[in-house]
């Protein structure tokens, strides 16, 4: 009963994870702040100002169009722009009502709306033709800040956009591989300390066999993700190199096992190699990426996802995903292990 319960729990968690991953909508975001290259009459300023277009992603500006507010912000200075008209849910025309002397060239663009809340486009506006005066200041605009009225949604991240759902596959698959290779590492140590026992060798090979599959799946999901966010199926990144080499190292483990006929010798040699493999895995995936530039989130220092990158909606799916994949991986490992043992029994039959 207990043995079925945790497997059922794992499957239920994964069903929940897949449902949430596919069904939870992506939150709104800002795509672009575009110069239309013409002027438009501003009623607030009483003069012609440059016309810009704000392009949103998944925004709801057609609801309550009068409440849309657009700001630019740089070095603590905030300026409200005049919203001339809202074209549709994701497009709005804005007049660049800014003075001629500005404290900076590069500006963040912000929007505030009763449905979407505050959205940010980092360095969305770059002005090269203005007079730069570092001391230029003006009074902060007074406005009502609306908070988001949307239900559960995944955060919009520039460039990642919808592919953020891959987080529930890619990262837990690697975590599961770590767990399985860890099981194999412990089994190999036990095998070496008690060489008469074949059970630990079965454990080691079963965990590595399943772990390699999780590694391959991690590589494939990572490759897909790289194609959509970094533009190539494979990029030169320490984390990617480490992941590929890890899979190769463990494939070498399987080759080594094929090369030895004597069962006890095979168990011993494979266990010795497996210890090397795990040490190299830790070095490649946990030590080296911390000392080099990486395209992965939290680059240069932290190879994993920074905790600030995960908001509550992502966490509500990501943590169960890690547990679910690990339970499934353990189950797969136990099935493989039982198969090894049954095969051994069959070979012993007269």
């Amino acid at each position: 009963m207990k043995n079925t319960l945790w497997k059922a729990l794992g499957i239920l968690i994964l069903v929940y994870v897949f449902a949430m991953t596919m069904l939870v909508p992506l939150g709104p975001g800002l795509l672009e702040f575009q110069d239309v290259n013409q002027v438009i009459e501003s009623t607030r300023e009483g003069r012609a100002v440059p016309e810009f277009q704000v392009i949103g992603f998944g925004t709801h500006w057609d609801q309550l169009p009068d409440s849309l507010q657009v700001f630019v912000q740089s070095k603590g200075q905030l300026a409200a722009l005049e919203v001339i008209r809202v074209d549709d849910a994701t497009h709005a025309t804005v007049g660049l009502t800014l003075p001629y002397s500005l404290p900076a060239k590069s500006w963040n663009v912000l929007t505030n709306h009763p449905v979407d809340g505050t959205l940010l486009l980092e360095n969305g506006l770059f002005l090269s033709d203005r007079f730069i005066d570092a001391k230029a200041t003006w009074p902060a605009p007074s406005f009502i800040e609306h908070s988001s009225q949307l239900g559960l949604h995944f955060p919009y991240q520039p460039r990642i956009v919808e592919t953020i759902r891959n987080l529930m596959l890619h990262v837990p698959l690697w975590f599961t591989m770590f767990l399985l290779m860890g099981i194999g590492f412990v089994a190999s140590i036990k095998q070496l300390s008690n060489p008469r026992n074949q059970r630990d060798d079965d454990r080691a090979v079963a965990s590595v066999q399943v772990g390699i599959w999780f590694g391959v799946l991690g590589l494939l999901t990572g490759s897909l993700w790289a194609r959509f966010t970094w533009g190539a199926w494979w990029v030169d990144d320490p984390q990617l190199n480490g992941a590929l080499v890890t899979v190769l190292v463990y494939s070498g483990y399987m080759v080594l096992r094929q090369a030895v006929d004597d069962e006890r010798l095979r168990a011993r040699l494979a266990a010795a190699y497996n210890l090397f493999a795990f040490v190299i895995l830790v070095i490649l995936l946990m030590v080296l990426p911390r000392f080099s530039e990486s395209l992965h989130p939290g680059k240069g220092g932290n190879p994993g996802f920074n905790s600030y990158d995960l908001d509550s909606a992502l966490r509500a799916v990501f943590y169960p995903a890690v547990i679910g994949w690990m339970l499934l991986g353990t189950w797969m490992y136990l099935v493989t292990l039982r198969m090894k043992r049954v095969n051994r029994q069959i070979e012993l039959l007269p």
Binding site: V245, V249, V255, A259, F276, L284
Partner: protein
């Protein structure tokens, strides 16, 4: 030997390895010839106009393949009968230490040879004397790291009875972390970065060599058992 200690046995084994190698000179000569021929092949491929990136990449590749070639030769002591006899007279850990030392010395000489022939054939215009010395230091550290890893792997594969092919299959992926650190160090040196600012790579290499060596030292006795 009347007074045998682990230290004296280790010294004897190391000296013995060199003596055996020296008697059959074709082994060492073949190794150095392989390295020289590889450098010359690189010279034919890249010419004297090799950019600093090419220079760097080719140097590490030649060192890597020469190192694999160095450990390819099977030892007479690897045979089962010899191993059973040796087990009664010495400890396996002394044997692996002697073997690591032997390979470390051979690969150090080999890396010096590779460096010199590289400067002769592919030119030395990418660095000054100090940078050249720093690069050579990186080559030597890498050679010692290779020696620590490959002597254990060749022991595994010769114990498996599968010969050199298996050493390459097992060794090439495992050697990549070392190669990653070394090439990064070499690139930094050739890009004119101050030695002190990239010397931490040498520390990494040393730590890696120490870790691999210790692991091999602990594991080798298990490989020797029947």
């Amino acid at each position: 030997m009347s007074q045998q200690t682990p230290w004296s046995r280790y010294r004897f084994l190391t000296a013995h390895a060199f003596r055996m190698e020296w008697r059959e000179k074709h082994g060492l000569a073949g190794l150095f010839l392989f390295a020289l021929a590889s450098v010359y092949a690189c010279y034919q491929v890249a010419g004297g106009r090799a950019s600093s990136e090419t220079w760097n990449a080719l140097a590490w590749v030649v060192l890597m393949f020469s190192a694999f070639n160095a450990v390819a030769k099977p030892w007479p002591e690897d045979s089962d009968a010899m191993r059973r006899y040796l087990k009664t007279t010495l400890r396996p850990s002394e044997w692996i230490l002697a073997r690591m030392t032997f390979y470390a010395v051979v690969l150090s000489i080999l890396s010096l040879l590779i460096f010199l022939s590289f400067t002769i054939f592919l030119g030395s215009e990418h660095f000054n004397a100090m940078q050249g010395l720093a690069f050579l230091l990186g080559l030597e550290s890498t050679a010692i790291a290779f020696a620590a890893l490959l002597s254990v792997l060749s022991a595994i594969s010769s114990r498996a009875g599968a010969g050199f092919g298996l050493t390459a299959v097992l060794g090439l992926p495992l050697i990549i972390p070392i190669v990653l650190i070394s090439t990064r160090y070499g690139t930094d040196i050739l890009n004119g970065i101050l030695w002190i600012d990239t010397a931490h790579h040498l520390l990494f290499l040393g730590a890696l060599t120490g870790g691999i060596g210790t692991l091999g030292f602990i594991l080798f006795p298990y490989l020797w058992r029947d």
